[in-house]
């Protein structure tokens, strides 16, 4: 792998992987080692988070095409070996603000048709917490998938908020969550049981309660500014590079 050609994004746009049962098996120990190392790398590289989550779904039975996808991530890493996560110095604004972005990709998984949720939190313009996760239940609509994704992000936001309170670093405003789906915002704000949302599990209505209590604010953001986009799907190259820059993953050598 040392002499491989580099690529500019970790996974192919709109590529979808399934279990590929008919393909030949690959060395699962090596595959697991690759995934394990990449997962640790995710701690400082949010840009590969989604791609790694894709291949880690196949750890139990890796096939040839899974390994190819894994190797693509390694090739991407090779090209961006000097990249790091940026924490800007000094105060741009006096108030500390915690902004979360949450997004989902409806029916992202080919095998069981569950959706993928992703969120990222920025504190004073530096990304501190992010996650890509397949949702535990099957969502019936994209609005529902967004709603579930939001709930996970809310839990994380509340935890981060309480940690910051303990660190005596008060956030004046409640944390804001930016969402690109208007109907999901309305669903969280108004306790109207719509015909198409009445079946949503009670635990996902947690967010509604938190919005009412003023613990969290929901804001609409256009899809172009949705930073969590890259955590739920494989995006196009120019978009990927934009999102990477916004997350603060930059080439150290160019700074």
């Amino acid at each position: 792998m040392e002499s491989c050609n580099t690529v500019s994004n970790p996974s192919e746009t709109n590529s979808k992987l399934d279990e590929c049962i008919k393909e030949e098996k690959v060395d699962s120990t090596m595959f697991k080692q690759i995934v394990g190392s990449l997962r640790y790398l995710c701690n400082s590289r949010p840009d590969i988070c989604y791609s790694v989550s894709i291949i880690s779904k196949f750890m139990h039975d890796p096939r040839k095409s899974h390994l190819i996808v894994a190797k693509r991530i390694l090739r991407y890493i090779k090209g961006t070996i000097d990249f790091g996560l940026l924490f800007p110095y000094g105060a741009q604004s006096e108030v500390n603000e915690l902004i979360g972005y949450s997004d989902s990709y409806w029916c992202g998984d080919l095998t069981d048709r569950r959706s993928t949720s992703g969120y990222v939190f920025k504190f004073n313009d530096a990304a501190i917490s992010w996650c890509t996760k397949k949702q535990p239940v099957t969502a019936l609509s994209s609005c529902e998938a967004e709603y579930i994704a939001r709930t996970f992000a809310t839990c994380q936001a509340l935890w981060l908020d309480s940690v910051m309170k303990e660190l005596k670093c008060e956030v004046i405003k409640p944390p804001t969550l930016k969402i690109d789906n208007k109907s999901a915002i309305n669903l969280a704000k108004n306790p109207i049981s719509h015909g198409r949302s009445k079946h949503i599990e009670t635990r996902f209505h947690f967010i509604r309660e938190q919005v009412t209590n003023g613990m969290i604010e929901l804001h609409y953001c256009p899809i172009e500014l949705q930073l969590a986009d890259g955590f739920t799907k494989a995006v196009k190259l120019d978009r990927f590079e934009f999102l990477r820059k916004e997350l603060g993953v930059l080439d150290v050598m160019q700074l």
């Binding site: 924490f87 105060a91 504190f123 303990e166 660190l167 670093c169």
Partner: protein, 435 residues
Amino acid sequence: MPHKFWGEAVTTAAYILNKCPTKKLKLKVPEEVWCGRKPSVKHFKVFGSLCYKHIPDARRSKLEDKSEIMILIGYHPTGAYKLYNPVTQKVHICRDVIVNEAEKWKWESEPEYSSEIKQSYIYPDSSDESGDEEDYEVIADDQEEIIVPARPHRNRQAPVRLTDYEVTPDDAVNDEGDLIHFALLADAEPINYKEVLKTDVWKRAMVEELLSIERNKTWELVNLPDKKKKIDVKWVFKVKLNPDGQVSKHKARLVSRGFLQNQGIDYNEVFAPVARIETVRLVTVIACKYKWLLYHLDVKSAFLNGPLEEVVFVSQPLGFEIAGKENMVYKLHKALYGLKQAPIAWNKKIDQVLFQIGVKKCSVEFGVYVQKLSDGGTVIICLYVDDLLITGSSTSEVEKVKEKLKLEFEMTDLGELSFFLGMEFVKLKARIVMY
């Protein structure tokens, strides 16, 4: 009856004696005394009598005999009879039997036994009393002494995948005296302590580790009390590398084989909290915002500081046994690497120390400690097992906390944060980059 049934006769005699009243126990039945219930003797029959074993429908066609003639040779603990088939020379265990105590088998007309006896045990299926049988054939391994129910013997067969290879045991030695199996070690980290004792670097590392243990007053030499188990220790060697791949240190670590411990006896709690990676990043951001300096401290041999609540004994380390006291063991006062409870013991210790210094544990994140200063500032400590990340609003206060910690533990001050949890932190003109 032929002599070869003497074993069966003895077993049967004992079986019957245990169910007969004896004088010793004031005419009580031994089995009654043992299990508190009077045994039944209804099923007792004359030893060696002729009996008819029922053949289940599935095993015969319509016009065949419904039973086989056999000889009673004992009782099975499940309540079944042990039967011997003189024709096929097999032993069966069966419940479905009619016994004719008046008749005997005519042994005299018996042909000579072949020296190799093929026998099969037929066990009744416990759930199905009709005698649904399952039999497997066993080859008797005893040829001179013909004891019929000989122990079943299993033929050992090498796995098929190895048939193409020459197979040798792991520790086999060839004619020149070398090990046949010889693995090349990747970065020359020795596994065997004997070869280690030859090299000076490793020896020094081992002495250093033992000194560290002694300094911490981790153990004392005692005699192993009765009924207590000791846990073995072993040496683990590691070459530590710099971030740029240079050898920075040879490290020897004495570890206990904690997997020999039992939960509830040797240890109770295992898990210890650490700071989440999100929190580490959050603290870094906060430090950046206020332009605080981040310091990194590392506790040397951290686990050796954790006091143990349980009593644990370990054997003496290989190569460093004290002459004349080889049979004694070490009683541990503090934890050793590899012990199951080592992480929690260490975490409790540092928690206590930090509390004494006046740094409070964060209630939602147990790996973070915060000290509120009188002037409104704060000192924040992130704890990741033995790595500490310290930052705060006032450099002098941070230094004070560091000094206090250094009094308690042996620490290495790694200065400003550069390499934490395998991630490199670079400070540039106006920002910190983590990668």
